[in-house]
């Protein structure tokens, strides 16, 4: 029976923990940026004129949202390798995370786009703006500003979910934790330390999103009120 918790032992592995945290952070930020781009593109297709494109995006979103991320990761890493498309663990992790978060982003941004009143579109059309100009200058900016909090939550969840990539040996924080606890046998302490690390990373990500939001949405920064 072990009542004494020894945090010192796992903490001596702090360089490994830092490296793992950096990998987690790098994975999350890369997947966020790429996933955001994919999601916005899909949301535009979903709300656009082509019925085929809208339906294709719909199928993609439902497929992703109704299957586990772990299975998606295995398909990308093991499944594709068996049909000739080989990725390294880190690349496979990013690919799977981007495909996953792209679907959730598409849904969130779609809701944002649909929240822009038709009258805004009419006013922009009557100013002789092209369809693309209306989308880029009148629809997307307020749409994304409005769903920014939802997007922030989604990407923090993504960072927590990146722990799953440890299952294909990506050297992120959870994988490092597994190694440390098998070395030290201090499993509770190790995982508690790592849980705290994830909490800290969540805070950093939220701060980052707040900062990006302030820069991208001057109205929000100046007025402080929601759109």
């Amino acid at each position: 029976m072990r009542y004494d918790l020894d945090f010192a032992a796992p903490l001596t592995y702090w360089p490994g923990l830092m490296a793992g945290a950096a990998t987690t952070f790098g994975l999350s930020v890369s997947a966020t940026v790429l996933g955001f781009g994919l999601g916005v593109f899909c949301a535009i297709a979903r709300t656009g004129r082509s019925v085929a494109a809208a339906r294709a995006v719909g199928v993609y979103v439902e497929a992703i949202r109704n299957t586990p991320l772990l299975v998606q990761i295995f398909i990308v890493y093991f499944g594709l390798a068996s049909v000739g498309i080989k990725f390294g663990a880190f690349t496979a992790a990013i690919v799977a995370l981007v495909i996953n978060v792209g679907a959730y982003t598409a849904e969130i941004v779609r809701a944002g786009i649909e929240s822009v009143p038709r009258s805004q579109l009419e006013a922009a059309q009557c100013l002789a703006l092209s369809r693309w100009q209306v989308l880029r200058h009148v629809v997307l900016p307020p749409a994304i500003e409005r769903v920014w909090p939802a997007l922030t939550s989604q990407y923090v969840l993504l960072m927590l979910a990146s722990s799953i990539t440890s299952q294909i040996s990506t050297e992120e924080l959870t994988a490092v934790a597994n190694r440390i606890q098998s070395d030290t046998f201090r499993s509770v302490e190790t995982y508690l330390i790592v849980a705290a690390a994830y909490l800290a990373l969540s805070l950093v990500m939220r701060l980052l999103f707040w900062a990006v939001g302030s820069m991208a949405f001057p109205r929000r920064r100046r007025l402080g009120t929601p759109l």
């Binding site: 927590l160 799953i164 995982y191």
Partner: protein, 216 residues
């Protein structure tokens, strides 16, 4: 079928059965605890409310995989011998309790204050108000998001494979080690998850639509 023997398919389907079983266990355990947490968040004294809020924020801010590892490796440290299934069920229940607790708290608070007041004015005591007036309405509000969250529970059972529990993904990994056909195996598994989750998603969305209409 597609290059999987009948035995392997049966093995996979057994894993599928365990996926469903684990989901139900997590829902039951997490639901029970979540219900208590939700009530505490709304009706308990301030210190209790704060503790519950911290618990929820902590659990929601921890990756589920870490929670499962903590449960699986942590409990033996307390001298208990744990099998993968109870560890997975416990870890998932804790995870589910935090999310359902939050969802259900929101639903309790969504019942209009006036209902509470009307019931009090009819001289119903706290327990009677809760059971006969607040809860029935809160449950109606809670149905769409709860059904929606059940989809998350089913998907999250896949992580139990990491602590060795033979649900569907673990079964798939074992079959893959024998057949080396990961594409077919995991796409098939994805299909089975989809068959389970998609109807739940559709039902949840339909409930949401019905609920809006009822409240118009």
């Amino acid at each position: 079928m597609i290059s999987l023997t009948p035995e392997q398919l049966l093995f996979l389907l057994r894993g599928f059965g365990w996926t469903i079983a684990l989901s139900l266990l997590a829902f039951a355990g997490g639901g029970a605890l979540g219900f208590v947490l939700a009530l505490a968040r709304v009706y308990a004294a301030r210190p209790v409310r704060t503790v519950v809020m911290l618990y929820i924020k902590l659990i929601q801010g921890t990756p589920l995989l870490i929670l499962l590892f903590l449960t699986y490796f942590g409990l033996p440290a307390l001298g208990l011998v744990v099998e993968p299934l109870p560890a997975a069920a416990l870890g998932l229940s804790v995870y589910v309790s935090a999310y359902l607790g939050e969802i259900w708290r929101g639903c309790l608070e969504a019942v209009p204050r006036t209902q509470e007041e009307a019931a009090a004015c009819l001289a119903l005591n706290w327990r009677q108000r809760l059971i006969h007036v607040i809860l029935p309405q809160a449950m109606k509000i809670a149905t769409p998001p709860t059904v929606g969250f059940m989809v998350q529970i089913v998907k999250n059972t896949s992580l139990a494979s990491a602590i060795g529990f033979v649900e569907m993904v673990r079964a798939g990994q074992m079959i893959n080690n024998a057949t080396f056909r990961p594409f077919i195996v995991f796409v098939l598994i994805a299909g089975l998850y989809f068959a389970l989750c998609y109807p739940l998603s559709v039902w949840s969305r339909r409930l949401e639509g019905k609920f809006d209409v009822a409240h118009r």
